[in-house]
């Protein structure tokens, strides 16, 4: 890649007027979908749920912190907890294929992995079905319906992004539909894998998850245990009220751990910042002492093998101890 990185201003000065104008006209002479300008918002929902659990630098896995950024504080009343994977009540999905494991999980999808091959199952509400199908038809030029196949016993359409990347959209069932995308495998392997997907009960689904996944009913108890373990090292619980962790999106241990330990650290950092601004040295010292034990917090040591969230937290704790806490610390932890 060239090391010269032009600014947009420099790009604007390039003598490209003719090519630029011609491209505009070329594009506008292609057939655009005849769609009213008041069409619904983009149905393309990038795979926001794809939270690598262990493979990558899993600071990613603090996705759970979004419940705060969305204005939902722990313990605050939130909308009804969705059934797993946003499937009809009581349903789950398992993949009965040797060597495939659950790689990521969220409230609207699950990702299975085997080496470099991935199979993503994402669930959507019925109202988005038509627009997604229309969108996927544009994978082909000219746009075309997908090849009819069966997914989990129902009709579906399959498109190929490339010879080793396919997506299938299954018809709506009980107000939901799902898309299954398989990459790193050819069409035959993809179809074979689809045959090994199975709808299950919620109980069987939860039982199929690897150890460490946090079930809906087990969240609060798991959080209590994490906080107890931290307290055994730091000597302190939360500086104020202990928040509830009964509701939330995190399902794997790393995300859930980040949700709990993040809340704990954020509470102490906020206490620290308040004490500094009010010149309350005793409270400053107390917060620094608590945060100073963070390298020994069991949950962070556990998470350290899977991602970088602990490193970020330790760095921020060190900054507080040095009297150099940056204003941007809430961004680092998702406070």
């Amino acid at each position: 890649m060239s090391t010269t990185k032009l600014t947009d201003e420099a790009v604007a000065m390039l003598p490209l007027e003719a090519g630029r104008a011609e491209l505009l006209e070329e594009i506008m002479t292609t057939v655009a979908p005849d769609r009213p300008v008041t069409a619904p918002e983009s149905p393309r929902r990038p795979s926001r749920w794809l939270v690598p659990v262990a493979a990558a630098a899993a600071v990613v896995a603090i996705a759970a912190a979004t419940i705060w950024s969305q204005g939902l504080l722990p313990g605050e009343e939130k909308s009804e907890v969705a059934s797993p994977l946003n499937l009809p009540e009581g349903q789950g999905i398992v993949l009965d294929a040797p060597g495939w494991t659950v790689d990521a999980l969220n409230s609207d999808g699950i990702m299975f992995r085997k080496g470099q091959a991935e199979l993503e199952v994402t669930t959507y509400d019925a109202e988005d079905y038509d627009s997604y199908v229309e969108d996927r038809e544009h994978i082909y030029d000219p746009p075309a319906p997908g090849e009819p196949i069966q997914v989990l016993g129902r009709d579906a359409q399959m498109w190929a992004y490339s010879p080793d990347d396919h997506a299938a959209i299954r018809v709506v069932e009980d107000g939901h539909w799902l898309e299954v995308r398989g990459s790193g495998m050819d069409e035959a392997a993809y179809l074979d894998l689809l045959d090994q997907l199975r709808l299950t009960s919620q109980v069987e689904f939860e039982a199929s998850l690897p150890n460490g996944y946090v079930t809906e009913g087990g969240r609060q108890a798991a959080a209590d245990k994490i906080v107890r373990d931290i307290r055994s090292v730091s000597g302190k619980g939360f500086p104020g009220d202990t928040p509830s962790f009964a509701d939330g999106d995190a399902k794997d241990r790393y995300q859930f751990g980040a949700e709990v330990v993040g809340a704990y650290a954020c509470a102490w950092l906020e206490s620290y910042a308040n004490a500094v601004s009010h010149d309350q040295q005793g409270q400053v010292d107390e917060a620094v002492a608590v945060l100073g034990t963070s390298r020994e917090w069991p949950i962070l040591r556990e998470m350290d093998a899977d991602g970088d969230y602990p490193e970020v937290l330790w760095q921020i704790a060190d900054e507080a101890a040095a009297g150099d806490l940056q204003d941007s610390y809430p961004e680092g932890l998702g406070c």
């Binding site: 010269t4 032009l6 390039l14 490209l16 983009s42 603090i62 490339s162």
Partner: protein, 188 residues
């Protein structure tokens, strides 16, 4: 219907005029051959034209376009060497024009080289931040992940760049073009 089509064309011309430089710049900063940037730009705006009703308004437009361009670029890198059927003239022009870049680079070569030593993930958020001048929220829109995920990733990436450079990372990017130069056919 006719009026609707005209409105659509007007809206697209405006979008193209406002964001062409940014999309082409985004692509040019990430490809080896300038002609490849023409392909990325053509396909990105083709998607925008086909999905105009889905393009978000105002400040969300550019991150949306960057997100599309990013996917187009990813396909290109994955080996999809299909050339866009559009933009031949732009390709020819880009292949021959040699800009004087001395005063118009978003990053000096040593910083670019240092960024290459980071992981792909760190590099991508830093590029969006330093080259496109995007903040965490906008980067999240481009990448399709939560803002709360981007923030620590960006913070960490900056720290790592600082370690590689041995000093503070450069200030956050250049300003995106504010006064786009309209091509002849885009002018009212």
């Amino acid at each position: 219907m006719r009026q609707r089509l005209e409105e659509r064309e007007i809206a697209f011309r405006r979008l193209y005029a406002e964001h062409f430089d940014a999309v082409l710049g985004f692509a040019l900063r990430r490809v080896d051959r300038p002609e490849d940037a023409a392909d990325v730009t053509a396909d990105t705006f083709l998607v925008a034209w086909r999905r105009l009703a889905h393009v978000p308004p105002a400040h969300e437009t550019r991150p949306w376009l960057y997100g599309v361009a990013r996917r187009v670029l990813a396909n290109q890198r994955r080996g999809d060497r299909r050339r866009s059927a559009l933009g031949d003239r732009l390709k020819r022009e880009l292949a021959t024009c040699v800009p004087d870049t001395s005063d118009h680079v978003v990053q000096q070569a040593d910083v670019v080289a240092a960024m290459r030593r980071l992981s792909g993930r760190d590099q991508e958020v830093l590029e969006l931040h330093l080259w496109e001048g995007l903040e965490s929220r906008e980067i999240a829109e481009v990448l399709g992940i939560p803002t709360a995920v981007v923030r620590p990733r960006l913070s960490r990436a900056r720290s790592r760049l600082r370690e590689v450079l041995g000093n503070d990372p450069p200030p956050a990017g250049h300003l995106p073009s504010k006064t786009p130069e309209l091509a002849r056919k885009e002018r009212p």
